[in-house]
Symmetry: C2
Subunit: 154 residues, 2 copies
């Protein structure tokens, strides 16, 4: 039986390689879109949580409401975001990605996928299957962990 400490080390090391690599790629892609990091962050938020208000953005990004409002406004003007009035609460706005905004994020994810696909293409079918199974296990664990303490900032 392999040493458990050693295995932990393996997992951490992978995390290290992967995080470094993926952050670099991400940074590069964001720059290529011409958007700033915070702007792109808002688009990402809306990509996953389909709609929300300005104050939600403010909370998630831990910036003031003023900052969120300004950032959102730029994205609206760039045609990446739709900002509609909430019919249930006319103070609030409903923010959603425009098609253009969604396409931009899709394309970013696509870029990321390409790297992963190259990585996978390098594996034997057997390795591939094992890797996929392992990652699914990890995904489930991640979801479980996130569910355990949803009270944490976000």
């Amino acid at each position: 039986m392999t040493d458990s400490v050693e295995l932990t080390q393996t997992v951490r090391q992978w995390m290290d390689v992967f995080t470094t690599r993926s952050m670099h790629a991400w940074t590069r892609y964001v720059k290529s879109t011409g958007l700033s990091m915070p702007q792109f962050g808002i688009l990402m938020n809306l990509y996953y949580r389909h709609t929300c208000g300005v104050s939600d953005i403010s909370e998630r990004m831990e910036v003031s409401a003023a900052a969120a409002s300004q950032l959102v406004d730029k994205l609206v003007q760039a045609g990446l975001l739709e900002r509609a009035e909430d019919p249930n609460d006319r103070r609030a706005k409903l923010l959603t990605l425009s098609d253009k905004g969604r396409a931009m994020i899709d394309s970013g994810i696509e870029t990321r996928s390409n790297w992963v696909d190259e990585l996978i293409a390098d594996l034997s079918p057997d390795e591939f299957e094992k890797v996929a199974a392992a990652l699914e296990t990890l995904s489930r664990a991640a979801v479980r962990l996130a569910g355990q303490k949803p009270e944490r900032h976000f």
Copy 2:
């Protein structure tokens, strides 16, 4: 035999979950240090590539030499970086992390490790072993891939 397209989908999805999560954590940590993103990026660079000059920073971060010089200067003043004259070429500087700078990155990696460890703790011993094996496979593939085209920007 499981559908290969489906497996690819699994891998991509994990990538998605993991990237989102790890970038968020990274952003939060950087903010907590009081450093800006680019400043932290320089420290990261030097953490992995033990020493380099100002122009190397400039190239890797794709900013002007002036920008690199200014950022480095702030880090030196903050005591996170050592800037020494290169004895072989007195025009050039040798940049290295100070103990304080190294500690800062170590602590960031530590934070990341904690999350991974929590994730792992949630697995059965059997799952754990399989996951570790799979990630090692992936790591090797990543290294191989990186080695294949080292001419790419970096």
